[in-house]
Symmetry: C3
Subunit: 216 residues, 3 copies
């Protein structure tokens, strides 16, 4: 009996999706901890970091119901994880948590971007707008998380390639979608590989993106 | 002639609705005063504190027209109240204003939560999402008000049970909706009583909700 | 051959539209420069300053597709301008850039307000709500730009008539729409003239709008 590749891919996708959602939510939990928020703040920031990007994309594309509204087990998971974290996660665990989140976060950035690009392209958006919707899906959960904490979003000021990796991955996704010959999961795979690969490279080589030179 | 109970309830509901809207708007006005905003800032914050929660809920549920768009006498009332406040309200009146707002705010939190829960449940949302939409309706006006002032929302960091009371009230609402035998206004009444009752208890007994213990 | 007035007006409108979009986007670029954001932050702030107001109005009115989604050459222009600015604009050019933006910004405030008022009125909104939608279109790009930078929006605290001019212009637009006799572009023209004229007067005479007197 041959191995059922599509189903393997589907399972892989679901595993990435759930672990990325948890990693995104954990970034909200850690931010809430740094800001000394109460349990309501922790849960809200976890929710917004996990689902804010996709929700903003769906608002812009007028796409309903929201992903979290039709998959509410994910909301339960994020709430449960938030309560678990507030009970057991202590400052000494922060560093190891952040390291453990790195890989799911990278893969999730790629996967969420691909989902956004594909949805926008199917709704007939132009290539530029489709890639933008992909970047919004992957990046704006973190942006909303930071705005709710009264901070300038990290994605706008840390000079690391993050949104830029998602932009490149979204471009790869759209490019592959032009060819009829390729398997239907190829664009999604390309987006995940390009986004996560660039992000890993960027962190390893400590790439910096251009910023304003204010000296002159 | 028997007393017409449904109409009495309806009148009571309208009185709570209008006084709660004014109390929510006043919280925006006071925040604007603390931040030394100009008259535009005062009016916008009053509007957002009063209508922001319901507007966000309607955006998420794709429900139109907005409450304030079809009842624009409420917008006139909020605008008029804002101009009145900027003309006559002085720092020495702030404390008494805040005390006078306490009861309408509590009842309004319960009423707005019930409205949100009922709308979401009627649109077929799951119980968790329905209660969330109720909490968004009651709490996110204040959250948006604080975000527009560049502050971390009070609801996320003051360690007082506020969103939590709305959550419990929304749960009571949904629970009663399961029973066919009860009168149709019973869930709404239960939500208002549970939310406002818990909130009053919490303020009287100075309850605190858990927050992050950062010491260890 | 007579001069084709409607087409002249249409061309004038397009010129104002494009130069105002660029002026609004530049206000985002300069804000990003002051905050030392990276290239992602510069592009996002430029986009939000240029299109945020119209996008919020369309979200509230449930109007799709967004202006920028169906005219994506404008998004390309804003992106291109942002990259150009980060490459060549230096601190010594800031003052002259701000002065060059004044007129396109004034005319754009009037034009964007008129577009918002007309759209809302055609969707059957009440006069107050229509004028509010006009003000949102003209002013909330700047508000969202400031919120994303963790600042209290300039429009709420600089005590200069800005939103107030748009409010008056929107009122003039609605007023002229009551008369069947006038040419269909008259309301739009009235809104631009009143808004930009009041704004120019306000800057020349250094008018201030009322704010809170906290001393007593």
């Amino acid at each position: 009996m041959p191995i059922d590749t599509p189903q393997l891919l589907d399972t892989a996708r679901q595993i990435i999706e759930i672990s990325a959602t948890i990693a995104f939510a954990l970034s909200g939990v850690l931010k809430a901890a740094h800001k000394k928020l109460d349990v309501v703040g922790v849960c809200v920031l976890a929710f917004i970091a996990a689902f804010g990007g996709g929700t903003l994309r769906d608002l812009l594309l007028d796409n309903r119901p929201f992903f979290w509204a039709s998959h509410d087990y994910l909301v339960w998971a994020v709430l449960f994880m938030s309560l678990l974290a507030i009970s057991f996660l202590r400052r000494k665990h922060f560093q190891i948590t952040e390291r453990a989140m790195l890989w799911p976060d990278m893969l999730g950035l790629g996967l969420f971007t691909a989902v956004g690009v594909d949805l926008a392209a199917e709704l007939g958006m132009s290539p530029l707008i489709s890639v933008m919707m992909g970047v919004v899906t992957g990046v704006f959960g973190g942006v909303l998380r930071d705005v709710l904490c009264g901070e300038i979003p990290q994605a706008f000021r840390d000079h690391q390639p993050y949104a830029v990796c998602a932009f490149a991955g979204g471009g790869a996704d759209l490019l592959l979608r032009q060819f009829d010959a390729v398997h239907e999961t190829a664009p999604l795979l390309a987006c995940v590989v390009v986004t996560a690969g660039l992000r890993a490279l960027a962190m390893w080589r400590q790439w910096r993106i251009p910023s304003w030179r204010m000296e002159d």
